[in-house]
């Protein structure tokens, strides 16, 4: 074998080594409060739905593409950031009849397990802390996108879940304001 052949073999071996699949590291993303939204809807008097929003959620999510079970998500938002488009209603919702936001200032979710359910869908089980009560809930998650923003990798997920407010001790005015609250959470985070 001449020197030229050895050199060719070395280059082929090296390129073969470089193209081997490398186990992706879990990536940690910090929730971007400006581009993340928490919406909810609740039925009014058994008629139409009233929509509201919590502003500036914070937290982080860890994405492990190879082993989704190692992924996690933690989100918290201030209860008094609630906005339903009507100041009087917002004040009422923040008061003792509903959120009691001066007592229970933070609403948070911390996942305990993440399971992959489809190509870009996941199921996150975890604890929702709301109105001083902690309960296990299941959030259906969908990966909504991945891109480079200002030189940093950003990822987006959308989560949906439904709770009964009476399970969290909010039992006032159940005849007029629905018990079921449906949440839709859009999280965008930049890699840490």
């Amino acid at each position: 074998m001449n020197a030229r052949a050895i050199k060719a073999l070395f280059i082929i071996s090296l390129s073969a080594f470089l193209t081997l699949p490398v186990a992706a590291k879990p990536e940690t993303f910090k929730v971007d409060p400006v581009h993340s939204m928490i919406f909810f809807k609740i039925q009014h008097a058994g008629v139409g739905y009233t929509y509201g929003m919590f502003f500036n959620p914070e937290g982080q999510f860890v994405v492990d593409q190879e082993t989704p079970e190692n992924s996690s998500v933690t989100v918290q938002v201030k209860a008094d950031s609630v906005n339903t488009g009507n100041t009087n209603r917002d004040n009422h919702v923040k008061g003792p009849d509903f959120l009691n936001a001066r007592q229970f200032r933070v609403i948070s979710f911390k996942s305990t397990s993440v399971t992959k359910t489809g190509e870009k869908t996941y199921e996150a089980k975890g604890q929702l802390s709301l109105h001083g009560v902690e309960k296990d809930i299941v959030v259906a998650l969908e990966e909504t996108g991945r891109a480079e923003i200002r030189g940093k990798t950003a990822m987006g997920y959308e989560g949906k879940f439904r709770i009964k407010r009476s399970d969290f001790g909010m039992t006032n005015m159940l005849a007029g304001v629905g018990d079921d609250i449906t949440f839709q959470v859009s999280l965008e985070g930049a890699i840490q």
């Binding site: 009849d97 007592q103 001083g132 001790g169 005015m173």
Partner: protein, 287 residues
């Protein structure tokens, strides 16, 4: 929004309990007012009736309730012990002093934790403890010197006005709680027609002060109860006490009664008008 079930179990039943037990005191010679057993009835039944009403409205709050406004029920039950300590003057005031400090401390724990520095918290808790003790002192003085009919009318007016103002100020849950006391006091007012004896309502005073101060503080710190309404409602106790000193010996009893009612009722009426005006303003932006 109050359901028929809530009215029945949280208001009618507690009021009926107080009515029947107090009538029992009024018409049973062995249970005549002033005796130890009558003190037991007046101390135990209203506080237990309040707890029953509270349980029906909000469920039974666990020990260390998640919602600090629910401490009012535990302290209402503690008032049974204080009501029973009528004979032991020093022990009673010691218990009242502990209650006066611990109650606002527990009620305002989130505010102490998040909003106040330690010196500010100590200052405010001291102020509220003194206000609670002052209210108890003034009302007990009135209970000893006024007939029960006049006193129970004033107490019912204050609890009723607090209930209405709270409901107009955007907290139905606090208004409902306050309404239980108003219903109980209305029953005591009816009974006092047959049992107007001075001192009859003495064991009820700590319960009244705990629930009312609990509602005023919770309304102010956790709901949108404005400072003027809080001062007017709590100030009505002071005005009612001052009303005792107006010399009207030559006037008929009904005129004395009306003057006293008007004096105690003036700040309550003003608080109601202010709350109503605010409510009407908000109606333009109703939801």
């Amino acid at each position: 929004m109050i359901t028929g079930q809530e009215i029945l179990w949280a208001y009618v039943l507690p009021a009926a309990l107080v009515l029947v037990s107090c009538l029992g005191v009024a018409f049973t010679p062995r249970l005549k007012t002033g005796r130890w057993i009558s003190n037991v009835v007046i101390a135990v039944i209203p506080a237990a009736a309040f707890a029953l009403g509270f349980w029906q409205l909000h469920g039974w709050p666990g020990w260390v309730p998640a919602d600090t406004t629910q401490w009012v029920m535990h302290f209402a039950l503690l008032c049974i012990v204080i009501g029973l300590l009528r004979e032991s003057h020093w022990m009673r005031w010691l218990c009242l002093m502990v209650l006066a400090v611990v109650f606002p401390w527990f009620l305002l724990k989130p505010i102490i934790q998040y909003d106040w520095t330690t010196p500010v918290a100590i200052a405010w808790i001291t102020v509220y403890a003194m206000v609670i003790l002052l209210h108890i002192g003034l009302l007990e003085h009135m209970a000893r010197h006024l007939n029960a009919f006049r006193l129970s009318m004033i107490l019912t007016m204050i609890a009723g006005a607090t209930t209405v103002v709270l409901s107009l100020s955007g907290s139905l849950s606090l208004a409902k709680t306050s309404g239980i006391l108003a219903a109980i006091l209305l029953a005591a007012f009816l009974v006092s027609y047959w049992l107007p004896n001075k001192g009859f309502l003495l064991p009820l005073i700590p319960l009244f002060v705990v629930v009312m101060c609990g509602m005023w503080l919770s309304g102010f710190y956790y709901a949108k109860f404005n400072v003027i309404n809080t001062i007017l409602l709590s100030g009505s106790v002071l005005l009612a006490w001052l009303g005792m000193w107006i010399k009207l010996e030559t006037r008929p009893a009904w005129q004395k009664f009306m003057v006293h009612a008007c004096l105690a009722g003036a700040p309550l009426a003003l608080a109601f008008v202010l709350a109503l005006m605010q409510f009407m303003q908000n109606e333009a932006n109703s939801y």
